[in-house]
C-alpha cells in the first residue's frame, strides 16, 4: 500500500533527478563499450568435432566447447558487432569470476541474482556461478514507461523469494538493483561485474558439478507480488538440451543461431544461450529492446551471417510483418534460415502465413517454420514438430469446441471454425496426456488440461511447497496450465486456462492484476476479477471488473484511471476497467470468484458475444 501511494506522489523533480543519475551512467557505459568493439564475429565452422549435448553438466559442456573456435557475438541497435565472447574466453573469464564470487564467502547452493541484460557480462556471471557451484537466477530488465517503482518492487520480490546471497547488474541497472536490495538481510553483496573484478581471486580449486544439483532458478512471468522460481537440476537441464539439440533441431556443425530473446526468459536462456553452446555452434545476439524497436535488424543479422536457426514467439513474427518495409526486403536473403522456431504462446496460423507471404520475396522458406511447445517448468521444450516440414494445422468446428470441448474436423465450408497449429510430439523420454477436470485421461480430439511427465520436469518452485504441490501432481505429472488436445500423438494447444493472460508474448497472471487492484483502498479483497478478451483482429485486452461502492463520478473516474495506470506500469499493457455494483461478480459455491463466469458476464453486458472464444475455462 505504501509503495503505491509513493508511486503516485512521486514528483516530477525527483523523476528528473533520477533521470540525471541514470543518464550519466548510461553515457558512461556507452563510452566504455566503445573500447571493446570487435572486428570479426566467431566463425560458423568450428575447429573441433561436434558433440551433441552428450555431457553430464553444463560446465562439462563448456569445458569441451572452449577448445573450439565458436562462441557468442553481441550486436548493437544499428547491427554493428559490439563484442564477441568465444567459448574459450568465456571459460577463462567465468572461472576467474567464480573464484572472486567464492571470495565473497558464499557457499555452494547459494542463490545469485543477475539482471539479465543481453551482454557478455550476464553470460560470464551466469557461467561463473556454475563454476562456483552457486545457483544463478536471471532477473528481467524494465521495459515500460514510468515503471521505475514497479520494477524495483519486482526485483525486490525476486531477491526476497530466492533468498539471494549476492546480486549483480551492469551499470545501466545497478541503481534499480541497489534500491531493490534495501532491507534484505540475506543479501551479502550487490554490485557490477567491474566491481567484482576488483576483488581478489580466491586461491581455491573449483569443484566439479554434479547432475543432481540445482543448475539455476527460472523466475516465471513478470509477476509483481508472488514471483516463483522454477528449480531445474543439471540432469533435467542436460536432458532437455539433448532433446532440443538432437531431436528438436537436429543440429549440425554448419548451424549458426541469431537471437533477440531475453536471457531472463526460458526460451532465451535455455534455447538460445545454452543449447548452442552444448552443440558448440556460434550465436549472434541483439538486445530485445533493439529488436522490438527495429525488428528488421534481426532479419538482417540472419541474412548477413547466414544464420540457420532463429526462434521467436508469434508476437515477434507479427512485429516483423507489421514493421518491416517492403523496400527493405531487397537487401535480405533469408534462404539460409532452415529452422524458424515458434513457440511460447498460442500460435495463430495466420501470423505464420502472413510472415511467410511477406518474406517469401526475400527467400524465406515456409517449410522452415518449426512449431514447438514447452514451459519453464519442463526446463524449456516438451514437444517439437519435424524440421523442414513447415507448420501443419487443423480446422475444427467452433461451435462443437465451445459447447462440448471436442475438436471436430471442419466438414463443410462456411461454418465458423478455429484453426490450431500442430506443435508436434514429445521429446524422447517425455509423455504428454490431456485430462478432464476430474483428472481422467481423455481420448484424441477431446480438449482438456495438458499434463507432462518426463526427465526435464522441475523439482518444484523454490520455497513454495503449496504451489509445487498444486502443479506437480501424483506420479510426477506436471500440470502445465495449458488447454489442448492430442491427435495421433501430436499436441495442439487451444489456449490457457483463465489464470494466465498472454499479451504481446508475455504471461501475466490474472491473480497479479487482481491483487494490484485490491491494493487500492477503494477495492476490497475478492472483489476484483481479471481476464482477457480477444477481438476479431486478435488484439488481446485485459479486462478488470471491480465491485465498487463509490457513488461520486469523480471518485469512480479516479479509481478507473489509477487502475489503468498501475496495470500499465506493472505489465505494459492497457486495460479496460469496468465498475459494477457489489454482488455482481459470480462466485463459486466456496465463495471463490470465477473468472470464467466473470468474463461471460462482462461479454453479455457489453454485447461482445461474438468474441467469446474457447481460450478460457476455469478449473
Amino acid at each position: 500500500m505504501t509503495n503505491t501511494i509513493n508511486l503516485e506522489m512521486k514528483s516530477l523533480s525527483s523523476t528528473i533527478a533520477n533521470l540525471n543519475v541514470s543518464m550519466t551512467q548510461a553515457l558512461d557505459s556507452q563510452t566504455s563499450n566503445e573500447l571493446t568493439i570487435a572486428v570479426n564475429p566467431t566463425p560458423t565452422d568450428n575447429s573441433q568435432v561436434q558433440r551433441l549435448a552428450d555431457f553430464d553438466t553444463l560446465i562439462a559442456a563448456l569445458e569441451y566447447a572452449a577448445s573450439g573456435t565458436t562462441g557468442y557475438n553481441f550486436y548493437d541497435a544499428k547491427g554493428s558487432l559490439r563484442s564477441t565472447l568465444p567459448y574459450r574466453v568465456l571459460r577463462q573469464n567465468a572461472r576467474a569470476s567464480a573464484r572472486r564470487l567464492l571470495g565473497l564467502g558464499l557457499s555452494s547452493g547459494d542463490r545469485i541474482a543477475i539482471v539479465a541484460d543481453t551482454t557478455t557480462e550476464f553470460v560470464e556471471l551466469f557461467f561463473a556461478c556454475r563454476y562456483a557451484r552457486l545457483i544463478p537466477l536471471a532477473m528481467p530488465v524494465p521495459v515500460n514507461l514510468g515503471s521505475h517503482a514497479v520494477y524495483v518492487r519486482q526485483l525486490h520480490g525476486i531477491l526476497e523469494s530466492s533468498q539471494a546471497s549476492a546480486a549483480l547488474a551492469n551499470v545501466d541497472y545497478i541503481n534499480f538493483l541497489e534500491e531493490a536490495a534495501e532491507g534484505l538481510q540475506r543479501l551479502r553483496w550487490v554490485g557490477t561485474l567491474e566491481q567484482l573484478e576488483k576483488l581478489p581471486v580466491l586461491d581455491k580449486a573449483l569443484q566439479a558439478n554434479q547432475p543432481d544439483e540445482t543448475a539455476y532458478l527460472q523466475y516465471t512471468s513478470g509477476s509483481t507480488r508472488t514471483p516463483r522460481g522454477v528449480i531445474i537440476t543439471e540432469r533435467a537441464l542436460m536432458n532437455n538440451l539433448q532433446g532440443i539439440v538432437r531431436n528438436g533441431l537436429e543440429m549440425r556443425s554448419s548451424d549458426r543461431i541469431a537471437s533477440w530473446l531475453p536471457f531472463y526468459h526460458d526460451m532465451g536462456l535455455v534455447g538460445m544461450l545454452m543449447a548452442p553452446m552444448v552443440a558448440q555452434v556460434s550465436v549472434d545476439y541483439m538486445a530485445t529492446q533493439n529488436f522490438a524497436i527495429r525488428p528488421l535488424q534481426w532479419l538482417r543479422l540472419i541474412s548477413r551471417n547466414r544464420c540457420t536457426i532463429a526462434f521467436s514467439q508469434p508476437f515477434g513474427f507479427k512485429l516483423c510483418t507489421l514493421r518491416v518495409r517492403d523496400s527493405d526486403l531487397e537487401d535480405l536473403d533469408l534462404s539460409c534460415w532452415r529452422a524458424a522456431g515458434v513457440g511460447a504462446e498460442m500460435i495463430r496460423p495466420d501470423t505464420l502465413r502472413n510472415f511467410a507471404e511477406k518474406f517469401a520475396p526475400a527467400g524465406f522458406d515456409m517449410n522452415a517454420f518449426l512449431p514447438c511447445y514447452g514451459l519453464a517448468e519442463s526446463t524449456l521444450a516438451v514437444t517439437f514438430s519435424h524440421t523442414g516440414h513447415g507448420f501443419q494445422s487443423l480446422r475444427v468446428d467452433a461451435g462443437t469446441l465451445v459447447d462440448k470441448n471436442i475438436a471436430v474436423r471442419l466438414q463443410a465450408d462456411g461454418r465458423k471454425y478455429n484453426e490450431f497449429v500442430n506443435c508436434g510430439r514429445p521429446l524422447p523420454g517425455h509423455m504428454v496426456k490431456v485430462v478432464d477436470d476430474a483428472g481422467q485421461e481423455l481420448l484424441d480430439l477431446r480438449v482438456g488440461s495438458i499434463m507432462v511427465h518426463g526427465p526435464s520436469i522441475m523439482t518444484g518452485y523454490f520455497n513454495c511447497p503449496e504451489d509445487t504441490k498444486n502443479t506437480l501432481q501424483p506420479g510426477n505429472w506436471l500440470d502445465t496450465g495449458d488447454l489442448g488436445f492430442l491427435l495421433e500423438g501430436n499436441l495442439y494447444i487451444t489456449g490457457r486456462r483463465t489464470d494466465v493472460i498472454i499479451v504481446n508474448g508475455r504471461n501475466i497472471r490474472a491473480q497479479d492484476v487482481e491483487e494490484l487492484a485490491e491494493q487500492q483502498p477503494e477495492v476490497r479483497a475478492r472483489e476484483a476479477s481479471a481476464f482477457s478478451i480477444t477481438d476479431a483482429n486478435d488484439i488481446i485486452t485485459i479486462v478488470l471488473v471491480i465491485e465498487c461502492r463509490l457513488t461520486s463520478v469523480i471518485d469512480q473516474q479516479s479509481l478507473t484511471s489509477r487502475l489503468q495506470r498501475l496495470v500499465y506500469m506493472a505489465f505494459g499493457v492497457n486495460c479496460l476497467v469496468e465498475l459494477v455494483s457489489p454482488h455482481t461478480l459470480p462466485r463459486t459455491s466456496s465463495g471463490k470468484l470465477s473468472r470464467f463466469e466473470a468474463r461471460k458476464g462482462f461479454i453479455q453486458r457489453t454485447d461482445l458475444a461474438d468474441q467469446l472464444s474457447v481460450e478460457s475455462r476455469d478449473r
Partner: protein, 83 residues
Amino acid sequence: MAHDYNNILQNLCHHLEHFASSGVEIVPESELIDQLAIDSVKLLNLIMEIEDEFDISVPINILADVRTVRDLADLIHKIKSAS
C-alpha cells in the same frame, strides 16, 4: 539552447499526435500513459521515430523514469546535448 529545447518539444508533440487517442490535447504536462494511452507497442514505434528524427539512441533503462511529454523532451534534449 532554449530554442533547441522548444523545437524538440514541438517536434515531439507532433510525433505524439499520431500515437495518442484522437481529440486529446497534447501539452508538456500530459501523462504519456494515462492521458495519451501510449502502450508498449506504440512506445516502440515512438522510440523508433524519435531515434530517426533526432538521430539519437534512447537507452531503454531511462524510460522507467519517464512519465510526461516534458520528461521525454528533457531526455531527448539531454542525449542530444551530450552527443
